[in-house]
């Protein structure tokens, strides 16, 4: 099965790989895993006082589509508010990267990573 050019681009030049200090109050961390393929994804958002995502980093162990999905998401969430970020759907990711049906779960993983990070942000603000 051939990867789309966009997947290959993100896979070969992943954007925003790395980590923030998860104990920093402005950092929201989302961890998700896909049991079917064993992929593990960590997405971290740096959120300013106005609730805007200033920066994002990810680390993913998984296939090219999982890496591309998380890399794309770090680009998309920057400059968005927390609420806007949660409106990103896996179908948007799958469409942008032209993921085949068997790789849709990679985009679901990326969407769930955003949700998990937002949950972490909200629990830290309490």
């Amino acid at each position: 099965m051939a990867y789309s050019e966009k997947v290959i681009d993100h896979y070969e030049n992943p954007r925003n790989v790395g980590a923030f200090d998860k104990n920093d109050p402005s950092i929201a961390t989302g961890m998700v895993g896909a049991p079917a393929c064993g992929d593990v994804m960590r997405l971290q958002l740096k959120v300013n006082d106005d609730g805007i995502i200033e920066d994002a980093k990810f680390k993913t162990y998984g296939c090219g589509s999982a890496i591309a999905s998380s890399s794309l998401v770090t680009e998309w969430v920057k400059g968005k508010s927390i609420d806007e970020a949660t409106s990103i759907k896996n179908t948007d990711i799958a469409q942008e990267l032209a993921l085949p049906p068997v790789k849709i779960h990679c985009s679901i993983l990326a969407e769930d990573a955003i949700k998990a990070a937002v949950e972490d942000y909200k629990s830290k603000r309490k």
Binding site: M31, G33, V40, L109
Partner: protein, 174 residues
Amino acid sequence: MITNYFDLFNLPEQFDIDLQKLKAQYQLLQKITHPDRFVNASDQEKRLYLQKNAQVNDAYSVLQSPVKRGEHLLSLRAYKLADEQQTMGDTDFLMQQMQLREQLAEAESSSDFAALESDINDLTTHYIEQVRSQLATQTDDANHQAAQTLTKLKFLLKLESEAQLRKEQVLEDD
């Protein structure tokens, strides 16, 4: 209605099974249902035994694997297993998985791999023991916990096979 593979293999319906007996039963059932025995049978009978033979093979692969065996037990209890596509969000477990993945990515020597394999083995043993007692309990709660433990074991199995693959690549280059 799902077929009870434990019944098919004449084994008690529980997580711990006698693997010797499983193998012996498999060889017996294989022999009984083998297509070669039915060259002179009618097409209908052939089809029937071919199906039976395929079922024996499926059942054997399920009962051999602790994770699949555990999931089969849960299915027999009418527990609805999560969709394969569903993600899991146990942060502590996933953090640990991430650490082990990093350890694997950095492993270079045979002692690095040995240390990693021993960590993976310890965790696998731990979760196997956990799922054994959860499945023995047979309450809704325990079934749910067992399903979660089986999910964790899937990650460990995947990690184990990736570690094996990488070890072969890395150590071969030396």
